[in-house]
Amino acid sequence: MPKKDGQSNTSTNNEKKSPSLGKALPPRNFRFSSGDLFLIIGIVLFCSFLIGGIFIYGNVQEKRTPYVRILSDGQVLLYSPLKEFQNETEYSIETDHGKVVVLISSERAVIVSSDCPDQICVKQGELTHVGQGAVCLPNKVVVEIVPGPGSDEEQEIDGVAR
């Protein structure tokens, strides 16, 4: 504690009384000055900020890491963080009805083609944000962007009318 040493050097005037009183009243050693109090509050605050910061940052990071999920007739075929797809990856999903092709890169997922008459899933376009999804009804395939695991955070939007 170099700061303490510095302080004691400058306050030599007060030392006269201390030998006798110091021995008679040992608890005096434990009394806080306002400086100590500030220091303690400082440490508490600093620790809180530090740990809290790490905690919140970690949480936010987790929350902000979107996952891509592909379901085929209720079965999960893929569930991975989007950022893992640094190289564009193509997924072909064979269903009873035909084939659905999904392209995934670190930024987005998109159904590029599908053997279905309505093409609603292809018309959905690029999915980039949590909460977005494309559903192919005839093929029973769902591609969606979901929050990462462990992110218990409430989603901003409770539902989307379409």
Binding site: E15, S18, R28
Partner: protein
């Protein structure tokens, strides 16, 4: 405080500080853990292909799992009652009925049928549950959308115009010859209402029903947000609604032809039929969203407003006191003034209120 170059005192001081330091860290952890624990909820989601669409149900609370099981059962049952596309359902039996052979319908089907018929009159035929023959010739119900021949359209159109339902006592009814009824324009909204009514009996704090984009929500005390899809680019939103008073269920139902359409010779044909012309409706709005307490009504009225077009829809909505959002080609959201302060436009859209 007196200070002295006393090694004992210094030691004491250091250990004191170390203790305080450790205590601070412990304290911080404790507080953070406490705050982290609060976020944990019993949130459960069910996703299934049903009602010719994709259904997502999210509930929070003690009975989450039981509630979802019940919801899945209820949806399957109601689908069997209200579908006309499946074989041997009450509605398909109704379509095969005649004056000499009326059918007895389950209370749900009979009630919704009466409601749909009543709205056919109230909307002056813009909404019409007899429109099924047109959906068939245009191939929207068969999964093969195409432009039919003039003869096919005329034949279907006469079936629509001459069709009718006769309601008898004790849930009995029959249809006039050639009539084909489809409750597709009202059933999802109605099922949303029914499922919500049943789920509310469970110990839950929040219920979000998404029946293929028909949203019905309820929350014990929170306000909820519901987005409206951008009809120009269906992967993003054009507006966000902030719903308060969610302790009474509310539904947000959008109609438009921006998803179910096909193109032939460069012309876009949507899936919402005009029962007067036999062609897909021609309208100057891209989608109409109705916000209200009655999902079946919202389902019917969103289709009606969409088909009416901007001017007539605004007149009609204000006359009937319907809370709605109409999206047009120019990126304007025409919003009932009763929704002031409850809606935010997303990027690229501007809000105009009407009375």
């Amino acid at each position: 405080m007196e200070h002295k170059r006393d090694p004992n005192r210094r030691k004491q001081c250091v250990s004191q500080m170390a203790g305080l330091f450790a205590f601070s860290i412990l304290f911080s952890f404790l507080m953070l853990n406490l705050s982290a624990c609060k976020k944990k909820t019993d949130k459960k989601t069910l996703q299934l292909f049903a009602l010719d669409t994709y259904v997502t149900i999210t509930v929070e609370g003690k009975d989450a799992q039981e509630a979802l099981d019940e919801a899945a059962r209820l949806i399957t049952d109601l689908e069997k009652e209200l579908s006309s596309r499946k074989e041997n359902t009450p509605i398909s039996r109704l379509n095969a009925s005649s004056e000499n052979a009326p059918v007895t319908l389950p209370a749900n089907a009979y009630g919704l049928l009466e409601k749909a018929w009543q709205y056919k009159n109230e909307t002056e035929g813009v909404f019409d549950p007899r429109v099924a023959p047109l959906m068939d010739v245009w191939g929207f119900s068969t999964g093969d959308p195409h432009v039919p021949s003039r003869e096919e359209i005329d034949a279907a159109l006469s079936r629509v115009e001459e069709g009718g339902i006769c309601f008898l006592d004790s849930c009995q009814a029959y249809v006039l010859p050639g009539t084909k009824i489809d409750l597709g324009g009202a059933a999802k909204g109605y099922i949303g209402d029914e499922v919500m009514r049943e789920l509310k009996k469970f110990s839950l704090s929040r219920i979000i029903l998404d029946l293929g984009g028909n949203i019905t929500v309820w929350a014990e005390k929170d306000d909820l947000t519901v987005g409206i899809v951008d009809p120009k680019s269906p992967s993003v939103l054009c507006a966000v609604l902030h719903l308060s008073d969610c302790e009474i269920p509310q539904s947000v139902i959008t109609s438009g032809a921006y998803e179910r359409y096909f193109e032939e010779d460069g012309i876009r044909y949507g899936h919402i039929m005009d029962p007067k012309t036999g062609y897909p409706v021609i309208t100057d709005i891209l989608s109409a969203t109705v916000i209200g307490r009655d999902g079946a009504k919202g389902d019917i009225l969103s289709t009606t407003l969409y088909a009416m077009g901007k001017e007539k829809a605004m007149d009609w909505a204000s006359q009937k006191g319907i809370d709605c959002v109409l999206c047009d080609e120019n990126g304007t959201l025409w919003v009932s003034s009763t929704l002031k302060g409850k809606i935010d436009a997303e990027k690229g859209w501007t809000i105009e209120y009407f009375d």
